[in-house]
């Protein structure tokens, strides 16, 4: 394949479509997906733009390996400025949409402007057309899918927001073939453009075009061998999906409970992977994936581990059927389950409402999805909710993003990765679960602080490069970086050493950081909520800034670092 990247710019205000081929040099520096998104954002808008301004762009970007048939490469990314956090935000989605973009001759789409009336965009064979979408308004996602299939046929992939986005729920997400661009409020940005759905025809076309087929097949086979040999990727995830973590994390006493007041949930087993297994009727995999972590119950896709925790353990709910029902509601309305659960947990604690009452939680979820009554406040997200109610210290967020299912006081590397994550409190940026819990590559002491910064930085950089190549995070559980760069090289003709692969990741991480600083973020935003703070954190943060080559006070990358990464144009 060539390094050519076909970017389509849709200006909705003018209803214009411009196709552009990006220069190979930008791909060599940022690869695709997440990395390309943050780089291109600077071309389309300033970091201080209002995320819901019509001119704020939203990107859907594949990577160089999307559609390559390489192991765990069937993904694509959505990049936007988050209305929830105010940071640059990337969200990764599996399913099929990305592959069908490429099969229709489009590697990436950037959308700016705003349509006059609610509309649908349809893509088929490189042709893009606008269609009236008013008939989808107010309808739940399954009904929207049905309507789209009636109009465009059964063989489509789609990206759409749900009715919660229309009601202004800040953590509204985007649904794509029953998978999600889950976090950060991408649904709200999408909806702000009067866009209801982006539909792409499922065109059958062979796009497999490796630079070195023999090498590509060899590295793919080697990766498959490790996936096959690793009990997590060959047994645990295929058997339980991500829910396998629930009992494990609870036993380690790092499962947040009652808005992070506690670290253990006595009844966790009732909503664990082992219990969910009995409700699963089908497994589901993304294109090119042998793991198949997707779980389908009679209520639809999921729930995943984070949802079992956010709408279960953290709220004191141990009724699995109730959590499955909550998950379905979120899927129908299009909201991020972690942010919804985190916001409700804050609401319960602030108002001293007992945790564990299914009826109360169910009512709050329904009201939040519709943004009605007290649900209107919850739909602002945990941070704005807590500030409004005068108890901002009870919001378990970093940079406004609701924290996920690992209690940072018992897992220090994860704590630092929450604090320094460029998209707010997120577990996936460094995925310290791997070395601190799963022992990948080797088990390290969870409560060791000194030296953790180096590992966090290595993994943050590595995952930037991996994301931008378009690998699934789970591949990193089976193989190390060198396999990823070798597969990328074989497919694209790039000749990246593992060090150069890492350097691309570092460039992306620093660019995201600069975006955030230009958007107004400071060192103070790299801290955890008071409840989750621990003495060693300050030293860890200092060590992190030093190792990153960032100014200790402002957190801005130093001149030398910018030059090293080819980012001096930003100053």
């Amino acid at each position: 394949m060539s390094l050519e990247y076909r970017l389509t710019h849709l200006n909705l205000t003018k209803k214009t479509v411009k196709n552009k081929k990006l220069d190979a040099s930008i791909i060599k520096q940022f690869l695709g997906g997440r990395g390309l998104g943050v780089r291109l954002y600077f071309e389309f808008a300033s970091p201080d733009i209002d995320p819901l301004d019509p001119e704020a762009p939203i990107f859907f970007l594949t990577g160089p390996l999307t559609g390559s048939t390489g192991p765990l490469t069937g993904r694509f990314h959505c990049v936007f400025k988050s209305p929830l956090t105010g940071t640059i935000f990337d969200s990764s989605c599996g399913g099929y949409g990305g592959v069908y973009f490429v099969k229709n001759g489009i590697d990436g789409i950037v959308i700016t402007g705003r349509l006059e009336s609610p509309s649908i965009i349809y893509i088929e064979d490189e042709k893009i057309s606008f269609h009236e979408g008013i008939y989808l308004k107010g309808k739940k996602i399954p009904e929207r899918i049905g309507k789209l299939k009636e109009k465009f046929g059964e063989d489509i992939s789609y990206i759409m927001c749900g009715p919660s986005a229309e009601r202004g729920v800040i953590f509204s997400n985007l649904s794509s073939d029953n998978r999600y661009f889950g976090r950060g409020g991408g649904g709200l940005v999408f909806n702000s453009k009067n866009l209801l759905a982006l539909v792409v025809k499922r065109r059958e076309k062979n796009i497999f075009n490796p630079f070195d087929k023999e090498r590509f097949n060899y590295v793919s086979d080697e990766i498959d061998k490790w996936i096959y040999a690793n009990p997590i990727t060959s047994q645990g995830l295929p058997e339980f999906g991500t829910s396998l973590l629930l009992n494990l994390i609870n036993e380690l006493k790092i499962l947040p409970h009652k808005n992070f007041q506690e670290i253990f949930f006595e009844e966790a087993d009732k909503i664990s992977g082992e219990s969910l297994k009995n409700k699963v009727i089908k497994k589901r995999a993304c294109i090119g994936c042998k793991i198949a972590c997707g779980r389908i119950t009679d209520k639809g896709e999921g729930p995943e581990y984070e949802t079992l925790w956010a709408l279960g353990a953290n709220l004191g709910i141990s009724d699995l059927d109730a959590v499955i029902e909550f998950n379905k509601l979120c899927a129908d309305y299009g909201v991020d389950t972690i942010s919804l659960g985190g916001s409700i947990a804050a609401f319960l604690e602030i108002n001293q409402i007992p945790f564990g009452d299914i009826k109360i939680v169910s009512e709050l979820i329904n009201k939040t999805l519709e943004a009605l009554d007290e649900g209107k406040d919850i739909s602002l997200g945990s941070r704005r909710l807590a500030e409004k109610l005068g108890r901002k210290e009870l919001s378990m967020t970093v940079k406004g993003l609701e924290l996920p299912a690992y209690h940072p006081k018992g897992i220090y590397g994860m704590a630092l990765s929450y604090g320094t994550s460029n998209r707010g409190g997120c577990h996936l940026r460094a995925y310290m679960l791997a070395p601190e819990v799963l022992g990948i590559p080797k088990l390290i002491n969870r409560k060791m602080s000194k030296g953790k910064a180096g590992i966090v930085i290595y993994l943050q950089n590595s995952h930037c490069a991996s994301d931008s190549s378009i690998f699934c995070r789970f591949l990193g559980l089976a193989v190390s970086d060198d396999y990823l760069s070798r597969l990328l090289n074989a497919y694209t003709g790039l000749d990246l050493s593992t060090v150069e692969f890492q350097k691309i990741g570092e460039r992306i991480y620093n660019l995201e950081r600069i975006f955030n600083i230009k958007a107004g973020f400071k060192r103070e935003d790299d801290y955890l909520p008071p409840r989750l703070y621990f003495d060693e954190y300050e030293d860890m943060l200092d060590e992190y800034y030093l190792a990153r080559g960032w100014d200790e006070k402002t957190g801005f990358p130093k001149q030398r670092k910018l030059k090293e990464l080819g980012l001096e144009w930003l100053v």
């Binding site: 040999a229 009990p231 047994q235 645990g236 058997e239 494990l248 990948i440 080797k442």
Partner: protein, 196 residues
């Protein structure tokens, strides 16, 4: 809880002895014991010569639970052995001389007194994939119904016993006997494809 503490101490003792005898590298090898429906197995990537309590992972024989993501890569083989043999303990190592020899032959015949008395001969099995492999899991138990220890060509040994110490002893015996063979040959002709 008390029984678990006892188990990990036994693992630590055997692991340390195995490492001292050079039966595996710093992070190589793994071992397990069967207790009822459960297996206690070493953590993936743990150092057998320096085991602590959290390096022993409790999981199930017949069913997969969430601890599978912490267990040794070879859990699939251990499970298969417990399902198809009467073993209560499994010891997997990479004894260097026996492993080198396994790459040269289809069975290892031990002719020193102790080796011949205890093991007599050890089958060598060749598979396409030898690490954490279902192919290995399918084949190995059949041999372990008749032999105390088997060699995977170019990889290492799997031995079984009623006790961990017993399984360990067969590996120790095999490697010791292979050393004797090597010394006796003064290196000459020991490995067909080398200059020894």
């Amino acid at each position: 809880m008390a029984s678990i503490v006892k188990i990990w101490e036994e693992f630590a003792k055997i692991g340390k002895l195995g490492w001292q005898q050079g039966l595996f590298s710093s992070h190589g090898g793994n071992m397990s014991v069967k207790v009822g429906e459960k297996i206690y197995i070493t953590r993936r990537g743990s150092m057998l010569g320096s085991l602590s309590e959290e390096d022993i992972i409790e999981t199930l024989i017949d069913d997969i639970d969430s601890n599978i993501c912490l267990a040794s890569t070879e859990i699939v083989v251990h499970r298969a052995i417990y399902k198809k043999t009467s073993a209560l303990a499994v010891f997997h190592a990479h004894p260097p001389i026996a492993t080198a020899l396994s790459m040269e032959c289809e069975e290892i015949i031990l002719d020193d007194s102790e080796g011949n008395y205890i093991l007599k001969k050890v089958p060598v099995i060749a598979t396409k994939r030898s690490v954490g492999s279902r192919e290995v899991a399918d084949i190995i138990p059949k041999y372990l119904q008749e032999y105390k220890i088997v060699m995977l060509k170019g990889h290492g040994s799997f031995s079984t016993g009623l006790l961990l110490e017993e399984a360990f002893s067969y590996t120790s015996t095999l490697e010791h006997s292979c050393k004797i063979m090597f010394y006796r040959s003064k290196g000459k002709g020991f490995f067909k494809n080398s200059n020894w």
